[in-house]
Amino acid sequence: MQYIPNILFVIALVAGIGYFTKNIRKVIRNIRLGKDVDRSDNKGERFKNMAMIALGQSKMVRRPVSGILHIVVYLGFIIINIEVLEIIIDGIFGTHRIFAFLGGFYDFLIASFEILAFLVLVGVILFWIRRNVIKLKRFWNPEMKGWPQNDGNLILYFEMVLMTLFLTMNAADLQLQELGADHYIKAGAYPISQFISPLFNGMSEGSLILLERSAWWLHILGILVFLNYLYFSKHLHILLAFPNTYFGDLNPKGKIDNLDAVTSEVMLMMDPNADPFAAPAEDEEEAEPSTFGASDVTDLNWAQLLNAYTCTECGRCTSECPANQTGKKLSPRKIMMDTRDRLKEVGDNIDKNGSFVDDGKKLLNDYISPEELWACTSCNACVEACPVSISPLSIIIDMRRYLVMEESAAPTELNVMMSNIENNGAPWPFNQMDRVNWSNE
């Protein structure tokens, strides 16, 4: 009977980590639905980017208030997780504060966790105020309506509850240590929970143990639930920010890739020796004709899909977007949210049917409208603003490519501009022979 808690703990741990692993495999499977793109070059620069941008939060602090608050929560999250290691060992073996033998260092650790937990609590409350009381515009854009807004708040509530439980657990423990209760060895320093502890003055040892155990269990179960919540939320960025900054585009922001499929066609057209009536080579016949540009998530590359899962909907991109600032429908954040929502839908479709069965929907039109795509000035403000190296612009360009090259659906004025280039080598209807007339006007 005495091992029941240990067994229950192991079951919860295995179930929690197991379900999370299952879902993460789905995320990886979905990302791999994207087309191939080579991001295996320049490993040194990539590691440096990951270290600076993800680990070092270099782009977060460009907005100092949210940046510094975020660093507090981020550091708290990482460092307090050392405590989770102790909790897991205690849970499995039925021990209590197994690392107490570290003595003074243990006191230091627990004291730092407490201070960080308190700072995280403050940080998270300030985040909540920014979203719900100050109502910062970027958290209230149309695409945030409904689930995205609730998602953001739920994450904050989770963190508030977890930190409160952690401090409550320590406060009750401190009381028990002072009472000299069995099992509760004197260990740790409690700079924060010593102020909570007096609230429990006069409680019986039994009640204190019940309180301490409840807080302990709820804290660790809460962590496991939160871990599994990630998959259903925008909060996956705590993991994916690392691979996403590593695999980010290293080219100058102005460079847009040249489509290889187009290059081979253009080279063929320009080759005077090419036989226009030649039968296609054997292997070419088998190959599926590729579409130009993207109308659905499977037309995008895996790095763009990883971008979509990494986006945590902070909205810095949208708040910097010139189109969005001037009331256009385009929101770079929505481009990323739509891409992820559609990718999840395609993934669920595959889970249900074994392989993808046409659902009559596409990323284009069903999620992202041409009006949004045509409002972009390709100014790269969104790309510059993103703290985790996401490029909404690359998706916008790929979708424009589909509209223009597969559907000939460019706005009329752009068709005029393009036929001018085709006919006379300039976007306006001027004769190429007049190109140096300016010199003697």
Binding site: P252, L259, T263, A381, R401, M417, M418
Partner: protein
Amino acid sequence: MSETVKVPTMAEYMAEGKKPEVLFWVGCAGSFDDRAKKITKAFVKLLHNANVDFAVLGTEESCTGDPAKRAGNEFLFQMQAVTNIEVMNAYEIKKVVTACPHCFNTLKNEYPALGGDYEVMHHTQFLKSLLDEGRLTVEGGKFKGKRITFHDPCYLGRANNVYEAPRDLLKKLEVELIEMKRCKRNGLCCGAGGAQMFKEPEPGNKDVNVERTEDALETKPDIIAAGCPFCNTMMTDGVKSKEKEDSIEVLDVAELIANAQDL
């Protein structure tokens, strides 16, 4: 504007069996847009003044394909690129300078993979290098002490991280350089990029160029300096919409330097 400037073409150089130091890529705006032609002329005057051995492609130059590419027409872009590259490679071009950040970006970043590998410079970078080499002198002249704010072109700034060359040149003019609240990597677009220049904007509550002009007007400038013919048009229109065209000029960095010396 009826003054003739001497502009040699690559074909003329070829006929004489010579090669210029640099190809001046004029671009479509610089060739055909009435406002941008003035920038082209100002830059040519500076090139002559610094004794730069340059040539243009003239009637052999064609659109780089930038607006087509940004509009999604990769076919048209690559057709343009491959044709231009063929011409430039035939002339064995090594170094290109252009006064248009869109041409600059496309030539520099998107042509190499298609076989067009050149050293490409924006005209502000090129003028800065002439200055550093002592071939060009930049003096305050009539702009000395004027309040000037520089609008970063997206395709020069964020797209290619060139922020200092135009500012270094302006500082040489002994002007009072005032930054807008959104500048350098945070600079707001003028609204023309991504082929927007050639179409009406999508429905909204404001035009991007007006928003950006308001940024500029906050600095109470005498002159708004630009480094891109399209930004120039957008900012000029913005200033007009605010009815400030009598008190505020929009000028390219090259024009400022040339005009300062009454070239």
